[in-house]
Symmetry: C2
Subunit: 110 residues, 2 copies
Amino acid sequence: MGATKTEHFSAKQNQLAVILKAIAHPARIAIIEHLLKVQACICVDIVNELPLAQPTVSQHLRELKNAGIIKGNIEGTAICYCLDEKVMAQLNQYFSKINIQLEKQKNACC
Amino acid sequence: MGATKTEHFSAKQNQLAVILKAIAHPARIAIIEHLLKVQACICVDIVNELPLAQPTVSQHLRELKNAGIIKGNIEGTAICYCLDEKVMAQLNQYFSKINIQLEKQKNACC
DNA sequence: TATAAAGATTGTAATATTGCAATATTATAA
DNA sequence: TTATAATATTGCAATATTACAATCTTTATA
């Protein structure tokens, strides 16, 4: 035991968990917010921006990339990372739907 | 090493990370979706709904509660859990803002 | 009061995450 | 071609998470 029992949950639930897990770290939230601010970005900028060592930042970037949250274009020795609009739109929709539901229900019990 | 360096990030970033981390597990997403569906709910319902043992479900519920995502009212021997509207609204706003930003920028680089 | 029912806690094993030093890779510049 | 600059990978120690059996707590009912 110890590992998440993904096989018992739906593909959608697992996929959402992967995306949210990738975002759910202060360093990765900081990376996302920085990418949003500067629009395009090379990795060394992010290393200078964050209080973490270069390999650690690189690792966080990889996790964001694996989850499909950011895309990277090679530009010489640098890499231009930016946010993936589709994934962010998907998250927006998910939480938007939940809120619409909750509005309808308005304190059904608690 | 090993622990997240929360002290180097902003309070907002850390708070968001805590909330997202609490949601970022398929079992907890399933719990949230179930609470949304049935509106009010006692724990044993959730145990029957999920492919996990009672202590595991209880632990997941506690994590959601600690993060402020669900609220619980004692009702006899049962407990009525439901979603906290404020936190869900906060998440909705966060991702909504990101999407508005991304719409404006429209492929600045990648 | 004894019993049962619903949940919470505790303890623990298995696994995952975080962070970084050292090192490797890759592309440009000299 | 050799250096340099930017980023990735590897390996590892510290810490966190996941899951559950066993046990405890609390409330309701017989």
